[in-house]
Symmetry: C2
Subunit: 110 residues, 2 copies
């Protein structure tokens, strides 16, 4: 269970979730955004492997469990108002399910 001193720093949405930005260690590349509940954060902090809550599947999701594209977590930070996390990770292979290294490959223009 997530320790109280961590849990009380967090502001969750109506579904008990908080967005986690995932940034690659070294390159600084923003890889993806995923969602965590308290237990996913607890597992991430204690195992060192990025673990999210899949909103579409309604289950915990250890990144790389099926793809092999693990994220080894170097640090987890919470923002000034407690409603966003920033993970720094060592990414094995591609972060995106499309095979791209990160999920942000479509630029919008006016």
């Amino acid at each position: 269970m997530l320790p109280d001193e961590v849990a009380r720093q967090l502001k969750r949405n109506a579904d008990g979730l908080i967005p986690a930005i995932v940034q690659e260690n070294g390159t600084g590349e923003v890889l993806m955004l995923a969602w965590m509940n308290d237990e996913a954060l607890h597992r991430t902090l204690t195992t060192g492997r990025a673990t999210y809550w899949s909103r579409s599947r309604g289950e915990f999701w250890v990144k790389g469990e099926t793809s092999g594209h693990h994220q080894h977590v170097r640090s987890v930070k919470v923002d000034c108002d407690g409603d966003t996390l920033l993970l720094t990770v060592d990414q094995t292979g591609a972060a995106c399910h499309t095979g791209a290294h990160n999920c942000f490959f479509t630029e919008l223009t006016k």
Copy 2:
């Protein structure tokens, strides 16, 4: 109004909002996360100044309008499944309301 070809790429939450990760041009520093509705994105794309929807105040929020800490937008990307934006910006001064350059200055530990 946001052009149809942009609008149809986006998946909004129940409140019509989409999270926008803000990354600093050059340094790669993740500065903050804020939220946009379609009109905020439209204003961001057309003015080149980062404009968000303030969930707490329920109004549009041109970053820097009161603080002077503007964000000049270099690019806006949407992720592979259309539910997160990534802005690259030139940040004037501090991005965080605390005066810190970015909002992620609190590290969590197990």
